[in-house]
Amino acid sequence: MAKKMTGAEILIESLIREKVEVIFGICGGAVLPVFDVLYDAPIRFILTRHEQGAAHMADGYARATGRVGVCMATSGPGATNLTTGIATAHMDSIPIVAITGQVPTHLVGNDAFQEADVTGITRPITKHNFLVKDVKDLARTVKEAFHIASTGRPGPVLIDLPKDVQIQETEAKFPKEAEIRGYKPTLSGHPGQIKKAAQMISRATRPLIYAGGGVILSGASKELIQLANKTDIPVATTLMALGAFPEDSPLSLGMLGMHGTEYANYAIMDSDLIIAIGARFDDRVTGRLDKFAPEAKIIHIDIDPSAISKNVQVDIPIVGDVKNVLKELNKIVTKPKISAWLKQIEQWKKNHPLTYKRGGRLKPQYVVEKIYEVTEGEAIIATEVGQNQMWAAQYYQYTKPRAFLSSGGLGTMGYGFPASIGAKVGCPNKIVFDIAGDGSFQMNIQELATAVHNKIPVKVAILDNGYLGLVRQWQELFYKRRYSAVDLSGNPDFVKVAEAYGAVGIRVEKKEDVLPALKKAISINKPVVLDFIIDPEANVFPMVPGGAPLTEMLRGLA
């Protein structure tokens, strides 16, 4: 007969069986029994200062390691504080499991103290969620949660666990496999469709690979590189796919879309065949839809059938895991005759390189270039959201997957710093930078305490322009420079803030101080906040105005 265990014990034992090494979160009344078991469990617990930080840390951990990130919070406000982080993970298909305490089952629905309908609130922002009302269901639920989070198109799963269920005892049985009849992701692509795709590729004259975050999630970088090398077809990546294809390859066009390279945007708009891989034709990528790539046929490979023909009509849909499909495609694909096309792309690259105005005050692009230089391109870069995110995407050369962590879909300011902490916990031997803005950093600045106390030596590079910079840029360009509610006067002294938390703060105002400061930051085995005072009106270019076709790019240097 199996030993009797409490719900809390079953939960922690299940997490151990899922090989969870770390949980990010905050304790509270409705999860006390779980934390009591956690007290001497072989799982590291990182106490954050806000539950939003915990969710982003689990997310950063998951993106950097490819494993499921776990966060935990109490009922009510603890759970609602997780929601921004859960929604962030949901939009970018990141596998996390969030565990929340709930008021005891007999109080559910009674407006009890710290009660919120958490499964109701998180239903649209999770891949799936569970309210466990019977301790007998708990072990199976945890198994299913990890299975759902990490397979198919990954995503966040929430388990809501009432306090009385944490205390109830049962003879626990831990299932080895999850068996869910309504959930069977299609993993292999249809051979007939793959053959058709290969034929279409061989006949293309202006083909382009448009790679999305699915390539990274599927672990298919190697297969993508093989496809490009075998066919000579150039590759543009989305923000989510930075690093999925090495940007130092001559076939790389860098990022496409609203702030993509001019040559990537010209190439996709002029192409006669788009091979979309693990991407979803987001509005930030396509620009104005009815003007998007008018002559292109489209092959779309994705594990999520609902991503196919959602925004654009696709000629050859292939539903399956990107890695599997590319492996099969690479076996039969042949090189098309595209030398004229490649020459045209070379010309675009030469005539429209990514560049910025130099001289005058410290330029954020220069800071990012130096971060690349000093880390030799080997760091993990997390970003906040806004100009900092775009400069980090444009001016750091990404050559490996899982090295660029950014809230692409939801665009969550405050994501980068906690995500960098999660990434550093998962990859302690990597240098981890959060490229931040002064606005975003303050949205989760409290996690400095978490980084310092837990000795997680991440580096924060604030590109400090004293503005909500990207919104200011839109106001400059489209609202007659009427800077409404974007001036961040009243910012604290970030060096002093860092020091107050026990981290190291360094302020940099001159170009020549950038490199020494970065070297110093890396040499210190502590969290470091670098406050780079940059040109306050530096802008992100190129830029496709919202709703315009991709070819209508604004250029900063024109």
């Binding site: 499964t119 109701g120 239903r123 649209p124 891949k127 799936h128 309210l131 759902i148 869910i180 009849r181 309504g182 959930y183 999520d304 059938p305 609902s306 196919i308 023909s309 959602k310």
Partner: protein
């Protein structure tokens, strides 16, 4: 265009909210939704009538498939299912109108009297959409006071 979709789901709390939430979040329009247990108490069958072109129908089906609690979907594209709806119609009653109303009811096997009161008569109608419409059109002149309908349920024809 209207489409009938049958969705076989886990018979669990919250499943209806997942389905209706999906429709509101994605901006799909539901004309009607009927739900009940199947031959197996573990599962429920929902019949949805959805408004939209083929592209909308394709997205609706794909999005429904993504829900973990959805087991199976039948969209009846290119086939006509057996579809029925139940209506209860309360109609104003006067001495003069009673025989005429009864005549309508007697002429249609889909209709029968469910309840007769002093001032109203309640008729139940079970049938296909066009027949229901015909009966309603004939009853309307007598004054419909209240109308309640279940929404369509459907099953494929033959042994499927």
């Amino acid at each position: 265009m209207k489409h009938i979709i049958n969705v076989l789901v886990e018979n669990k709390p919250g499943v209806l909210a997942r389905i209706s939430g999906l429709f509101s979040a994605r901006g799909f329009n539901i004309n009607s939704l009927a739900v009940g247990e199947t031959e197996n108490p573990d599962t429920s069958r929902m019949t949805l009538v959805v408004e939209g072109d083929d592209r909308v129908l394709e997205q609706v089906t794909k999005q429904l498939h993504k829900l973990i609690d959805v087991i199976k979907i039948a969209d009846f594209v290119g086939e006509k299912p057996i579809a029925r709806e139940l209506l209860l119609v309360k109609i104003a009653l006067t001495k003069g109108t009673k025989p005429q109303i009864l005549q309508v009811v007697n002429n249609f096997p889909e209709a029968r009297i469910a309840d007769v009161g002093e001032k109203t008569i309640t008729i139940e109608i079970v049938g296909e959409e066009d027949r229901i419409q015909t009966i309603l059109d004939l009853l309307r002149p007598f004054g419909i006071k209240t109308l309640s309908r279940t929404g369509k349920i459907a099953l494929p024809k033959g042994s499927k």
